[in-house]
Symmetry: C2
Subunit: 450 residues, 2 copies
Amino acid sequence: MARTSLSGFPEWLPEGRIIEMHVLDELRRVFELHGFAGIETRAVESLEQLEAKGETSKEIYILERLQAIKAGACGGRAPKERGMGLHFDLTVPFARYVVDNANELDFPFKRYQIQKVWRGERPQDGRFREFTQADIDVVGNGELPFHFEVDLPLVMAQALNNLPIPPVRVLVNNRKVVQGVCESLGVTNIEAALRGLDKLDKVGPEGVASELAACGISGEQTSVLLRMAQIRTADSSEVRSRLDAIGVGGQLLEQGLDELTLLLDTARRRMPGTVVADLKIARGLDYYTGSVYESEIEGHEDLGSICSGGRYDSLAKDGKRIYPGVGLSIGVSRLVSRMISAPMVRASRKVPTAVVVAVNNEEARERSEGIAATLRARGISTDVSPSAAKFGKQIKFADRRGIPFVWFPGEDGQPDTVKDIRSGDQLEADPSTWTVPESDAFPVIEKVMD
Amino acid sequence: MARTSLSGFPEWLPEGRIIEMHVLDELRRVFELHGFAGIETRAVESLEQLEAKGETSKEIYILERLQAIKAGACGGRAPKERGMGLHFDLTVPFARYVVDNANELDFPFKRYQIQKVWRGERPQDGRFREFTQADIDVVGNGELPFHFEVDLPLVMAQALNNLPIPPVRVLVNNRKVVQGVCESLGVTNIEAALRGLDKLDKVGPEGVASELAACGISGEQTSVLLRMAQIRTADSSEVRSRLDAIGVGGQLLEQGLDELTLLLDTARRRMPGTVVADLKIARGLDYYTGSVYESEIEGHEDLGSICSGGRYDSLAKDGKRIYPGVGLSIGVSRLVSRMISAPMVRASRKVPTAVVVAVNNEEARERSEGIAATLRARGISTDVSPSAAKFGKQIKFADRRGIPFVWFPGEDGQPDTVKDIRSGDQLEADPSTWTVPESDAFPVIEKVMD
């Protein structure tokens, strides 16, 4: 990470940014391969839109024009001037965009969106206050078939498994399963049950039990909920048999189990070993209505979920229509931060440049520029030495940046030569025909072995 | 442009975003071909950094945490909470980044940066309050050779001329020329002279004259300044002879003329017809110290300069070092907005998808998914029909989005077929060998003819 004077606002050095760009390029490539259209929304939403999503209001950065503040003191600020804040995710803006443009969009509408988001965390909490998210969602007009709840997590799994990181597991649960179990048990305060279960990893079974007891959930009910929360398997029949063994049932649970079974079985056929049911997942179940997803990187479980999402029966609505949606969001900055700090990967160089053309003397700069222009026209990233210093110094310019080749314009009618400064090999070359080895054409992201 | 409820915050429909992405991809490609490294900086700077750039303070959006405002009323807001604002350009953050990371960077450091910026304009002014800029800069440690003042505007010219827009002219001037003329005339209030000349296009020569008179610049002096401001030519010797004819001279002017001559003559050799001296350019001359650049699109001069910049002898400084820089910035959103509204271009379709695989019935969905997976593994952007509706409806799904091909899985042992829905041609095809014509692989940006 680059040095910076504001905590929570990560910046990368050029070599880190190469890794981030590789990640973003790969995500975009996979999203587009699956037919998702790219959009961007403005960074700013009305405070009304942002606050509609309940308890997140504490995380909002609001905007004010400096001039307006300077003009009036405190009392002079009209409420209108306070009406805008930075988005804290890409779902709220996407829902607003869908409603704004419903007549222009074709449903079901599949979009990806890769943008910065901001959260007004307290600096001392050590969290990112600015970070990049990469989201995919599909949104329907009125209805949205279940198969998208199978398709979307698999697109994300494929995108993540294409990155130079350890294997990613997608963990899934289903709101209907958990709610069905609660109903079967006679637990009416479902939100409290979800809130308690969500803390299982942090406070342990006893902690959850005392929390649920305080909400009027009995010890017997809690014991069943905790047995449910222990179910973690890729095998749909195991999910079913273990829930049967607990002695829960009912129509909603059956429907949820059918959905979960279809998701697990299809995922197992398309991408074996990728999707696992984990019935303790409770985060987000208060607003998701069907499938819910989290994910973890093998060996980096401490990082938490780097890709989460689910199904909303009502992602957005306007006067006449309801727009159901299903989608997932990758926390790109957190992922890239770990890739760099672990380190999982390394960029083969700090610049895009494959070759530097040396300058024999300042009078001959235009000749070097001509060679560079010929190479660039052929798609080879080329720089020209900034000074006509001694060749040793010009080679050092390339070496410090990791640029593999230096081009020497021939003097006195001699042919040009190009030197691989790693091996020292120097060969005659013509800028209109010389080719750079494919592995040297652009910076390569190399996996770092343990 | 997409519909939106906040003026000044542009958003594009998917088909517009395809055009914007094409522009951004092309700019990045050209910048990287020239050896510029990509970086991003955080959206937020300290107010101190932002306000250091003088009169721009009126355009700053400052950030406050909503929670902090709700907690204390007006009096309770600590000044610290008010210390951050959104960047209004990419130069101020880049200068700060260079100082923060001076020990990690290799100088001269060439970087490109493509990001959103924000300006707290009054909504009624009809200006963009959020927009994307694409900047290139090179920054030196202590020194920076003049040749970069030739190189950088030509990189931008090449980047812009690769776009599907009319030819772009780069207009150049030089602070030393204008200051030299002023000194030669005995005009001491150079800032006033620059401010007045900058309004020439808006208020005409009489307007400028009365403005300059009010600042104590004589009629004779003004008349010479106006003759200087009329000089617009790609021919360096014409610049020189017309200044000679006006009767101005001196050492500083000579130095500026030498620089301007080198810029014009080199540009004419490398990219004939691209760079033109325009001595009325005064904007930015108060902070630029050498070459200064603007640019215009042929036939769209009313749009103003879509790419501007110049040389700073002190882009940044810290305790021990000064970092001179030269760079230019493209106003991408304004450019894309014109490309779409003119219209100059059109996207051949609204989605990346080249082919939609039809679904014969819901039971056969997995077979269609298998075909799609094979096509995607071969780099073909593929979607699967969201429903097993009648084929007519599935074809309409493709047609509405501009997707050229529909794939029909063969039934009862028949081979698969693929239909070009534009021509109606339908042929047998195998997903492991079928290739999509190159021009159909991804959306194409087509020039719109007048």
